[in-house]
Symmetry: C3
Subunit: 268 residues, 3 copies
């Protein structure tokens, strides 16, 4: 067994037995699997948040990572496995949600379309591939079944595109996008910290932020407690990206923004 | 050890330490148990949803299944164990929530009332039998303790009735009931797919649905993506039953229905 | 290995991958750890509820207990380990959330400030010590690393104080405080059952309760079902304290109270 760590993520939230059903499917295949429920609070059908969640695998042990945010389940969208250079396997729908993590994990090594029903749990419900196809694939992969056994090879360029590109610094400006809003109402952006560093903003300096029709000034800080309760901060987040938040309050509620919204950050 | 899979379901939601307390209770009895949190998002006191959740054990490994939706805790309602023909044990309150799953798992083989305090964790709180009685019973059963050790045998006919019967096709009509509304707002009905098939509706055909004072026409489809975003679908769900939903939207919010409501489906 | 039980609690709710990230951090250190997610629904930044959650360890196997309710993360507040006489280790921020449980577990045996970065997962994000410091410390402690290896000893009196003291009976009165409101809307108070017993209220007798500007009379009962649906009850809760609730309804919503509010109970 390469690794016995299998992570499950979905937009099923707390209210679905689908989470337990996927875990049961895995144990029926690999009783020694170590299932981690990474994140089931992805907002319904939110491919941005799903992709961002998969990125956080960067901090996890190498393993098999299932993501079930799958508005196209049962249609022609393909079930896929994507292997990355670090050694992890990502399993889920071909809707882009698996394609941002590979950028942080050495790139895609191989991708296959899952077609071999020998590795599915039948009957496969056309509205829940998580239990019938994705979780079982993770179980079998964790037992050492080779990727080629699951189906036909796909070229990375033929996969559905990732939901966001990486924002780049253009002179003193970054045109970014919100890719996740957490439960505290903090925004996470498609700006990697190494890209942010190119802007050369000093800790404590303020940047100008345009969001919707609002313009605000926000200090670049180290942690929330660097400002008073309720005040704005821009920080390096805990997952290699940049976050904008209110200390102990909800930015998203106060400024009425939603996932996917554009945001511009300017060094003044 | 027959099986080491123990599932826990409840209406405790995310906010209760009771979930972790039950898991701890189990490990203190059987350190080798494999606990799966099947579903803790059952709406408070909702016996319909609890019963429907227990049905989904159909897709799970054989094991010991605890359900704690227990408005009568500490009163005269009995704590029970129900063994089904497939080999699973269901443990929980005698309020009907354990009695629909056996219909799908070969029927009830035996039922006992739990009275032997040797298998309880004391002191038993009169408001939380999940930790004091049900989870410990699952732990002991998984170690091979015989069912008869827990208490006196009960006749199945003397148990509190299941919260719903199976809807039946009457000519071109099915009078059904909502037994679960999931987080996406989709309705799940007390209609088994094998019963539905007797209505002989073809994929793509529309049926007439009466719900409250509203009458709507809904196409019988294979998956959500067969219709446009926001449109109505009637599907075979992923747990042997029939579901009515809006693709990527909430049926329950749009039509203001609640669990337990009646619904009539007519083939035209 | 002393124990392999590690519990995780936080205010991350369902929506954060931080929960899975902490679990992954632990397995990367101790693959044999048994992680129990005790409670991630602690309201954001609520030190009262965090402290009360840690108390429920009283019912859990001896182990290593991480609490991440940490509004001061990354500031001067210290990361600490507190060992109690029962044998458990509590790991988290020095903000008082770890200091009520020891009262129930024999008292504090030793406390250290975590400074040795050999037992951290680097880089440590200044906004998420759960993954970088606390969870790893639990992992290493569970492998038998001695507490003194983590950093310098702290005197218990120098730790940030617990968020609540124990309410005491003064003649016929108890001046108490709400320390937790559960998902059913029931209030849990800083009154231990052994203290309550000194008031000598008989089951069925009514006490007078002052909360905000309201005065209500509530019967002391054994369980919820002792009163009708929607009626008031005062009970011994399932975690050694006193609770005030409505049977199958939300006290907190009806009486508009919040965690931390004062409440007076008078025997008449």
């Amino acid at each position: 067994m390469v690794s016995n760590v299998i992570t499950l993520s979905s937009d099923f939230e707390k209210q679905s037995q689908g989470i337990g059903n996927m875990e049961g499917a895995i144990y029926s295949i690999n009783p020694e699997a170590r299932v981690i429920h990474l994140m089931h609070g992805i907002p319904s059908f939110d491919i941005n948040s799903a992709a961002r969640t998969m990125e956080t695998i960067y901090n996890m042990p190498i393993g098999f990572h299932v993501c079930v945010v799958d508005p196209g389940v049962g249609t022609k969208r393909r079930p896929i496995i994507v292997k990355v250079k670090r050694g992890d396997f990502f399993i889920g729908p071909d809707n882009g949600c698996l394609l941002t993590a590979p950028r942080l994990l050495g790139g895609i090594e191989k991708a296959v379309k899952i077609t071999n029903d020998r590795y599915m749990i039948k009957p496969v419900s056309p509205i829940f591939h998580g239990r019938g196809i994705f979780a079982p694939a993770a179980g079998h992969l964790s037992l050492g079944i080779q990727m080629g056994e699951f189906g036909t090879v796909l070229e990375p360029k033929d996969l559905a595109p990732a939901p966001y590109e990486e924002a780049k610094v253009e002179e003193n400006l970054i045109k970014a996008k919100i890719i996740h809003i957490n439960k505290f109402g903090s925004l996470h952006l498609n700006i990697l910290q190494q890209e942010w560093d190119k802007l050369k903003v000093k800790l404590g300096d303020r940047v100008e932020i345009n969001i919707g029709k609002k313009k605000i000034e926000v200090p670049f800080s180290r942690t929330f407690g660097d400002v008073k309760k309720g005040e704005l901060v821009l920080l390096k987040d805990d997952y290699m990206r940049i976050t904008i938040a209110l200390n102990m309050d909800s930015f998203a509620e106060k400024y009425l923004v939603k996932n996917g919204d554009k945001i511009e950050i300017r060094k003044t």
